[in-house]
Assembly symmetry: C2
Homo-oligomer: 241 residues x 2
Amino acid sequence: MHSPSEQNYIQQLSIDCVIFGYQDKQLKVLVPKLNFRGDFWALPGGFIDQNESIDEAAHRILESRTGIIDIYLEQFRVFGDTGRTNKPFLERLIELNEETLGANRFNQKEFEWVTRRFISIGYYALVDINKVIPQKHEIDESIGWYSIRQLPPMIMDHNEIVARALDTLRSNLDEKLIAFNLLPDTFTMREVQELYEAIFDKPFARNNFQKKILDMNVLERLEKKYTGAANKAPYLYRFVR
Amino acid sequence: MHSPSEQNYIQQLSIDCVIFGYQDKQLKVLVPKLNFRGDFWALPGGFIDQNESIDEAAHRILESRTGIIDIYLEQFRVFGDTGRTNKPFLERLIELNEETLGANRFNQKEFEWVTRRFISIGYYALVDINKVIPQKHEIDESIGWYSIRQLPPMIMDHNEIVARALDTLRSNLDEKLIAFNLLPDTFTMREVQELYEAIFDKPFARNNFQKKILDMNVLERLEKKYTGAANKAPYLYRFVR
DNA sequence: ACAAAAGTGTTACGATTACACCCATGT
DNA sequence: ACATGGGTGTAATCGTAACACTTTTGT
């Protein structure tokens, strides 16, 4: 897990993951912050071992960040422009951290390996945010959930990667019935609606929304949920199939 | 253009292109056949130079096969299973061609380079089949258009790649208004309809189809086309925008 | 009784599908 | 005149959006 240049990775190919969660009526993305001076945020990512498929690599990266094995996950786009490299970012990082880095946190070989041009396969994942215990890596200062509306400025093209992931999520949501991956095991119809509103950034009519979701025939209605609020208790639902 | 192992390519990463054309009421794919004993077909593909983006690489590959520069082209999926390698195919090819190959058509270095595990980015392209003069490469015996319903058995996972490309084409066709890339500059409404019927493998109602296409507001109606047939002359249309 | 939010029904609208008719063209 | 295929109009149907009403719960 240490020097990528010494691992048996495929060269110049990486995976970047956009991990979506949902909390407080907001769509969120899990983003680590690097443990260096200069406020560097970078999407969870990694490389592909010679002995694993790209999907397996993505799963491994996700598990190391969320602790969850069973994650909904899909590739959505390859980012492969000519000048796509870490170099400007790393040079600035080194510039801002000369004293703490010392002479050789990066040796020459290592530096050249990670600053080459990289082509990256974008994956997006949908998780139940309550089941995730975000794992920061050695290199991270912190890791946290950021609202899609208030993402920090990330390195390279990572902000664009998130934007593309959101586009894909929106266009796949209904057809692939994947929204429920973002919710707990049981949930109310209002919660589904608020999730949709967070994803599409627009309101939905309550009655029509309920009809649409129930017509998907993928929800099982459970007992009512007594919240203590001064109103009718909503039903709980569970996703089946 | 000779030994890939001596070129400045990104390692273990390739591009495979599904080039769609349309002729004789059939959706077709451009597939070269290798100039060896054993009937090997393989999708047009290639590698990515260090100094070109993946889109540029795909364009280069397409131009070398079609002679056309301005091609509609889109990536649609990455194929990255663990065992994804040319090796079984090449070993069989060598086995069947020992006498003609002689001792060293492939040297050891070359053989190892091309038989490593490869991750491939799938692109699909839409071309006006009449503008294409299929170019076979040195290594090819022939290159030709094969109906999507009667594709030859291709090496590796190339048949699956075509199937995935067709799925993507179908789901993008209306939204991205790309069908017209498969037609000549001017065409009749019947031709558009037959194209759709070839792509979706199902019939469309003539009047409703016409309404739907015209409601896209991307066609300009030109003069009538007198065919000499014993019926009303159809209008010609041109794609605009 | 009332406010708040949930559940459901009913109508209106728009887009798609189905049906029908008329027109141009060559034999 | 007729067969053939092209263009277009209208009605029926379906799914979605808009509107309305009733029910449940705690104060």
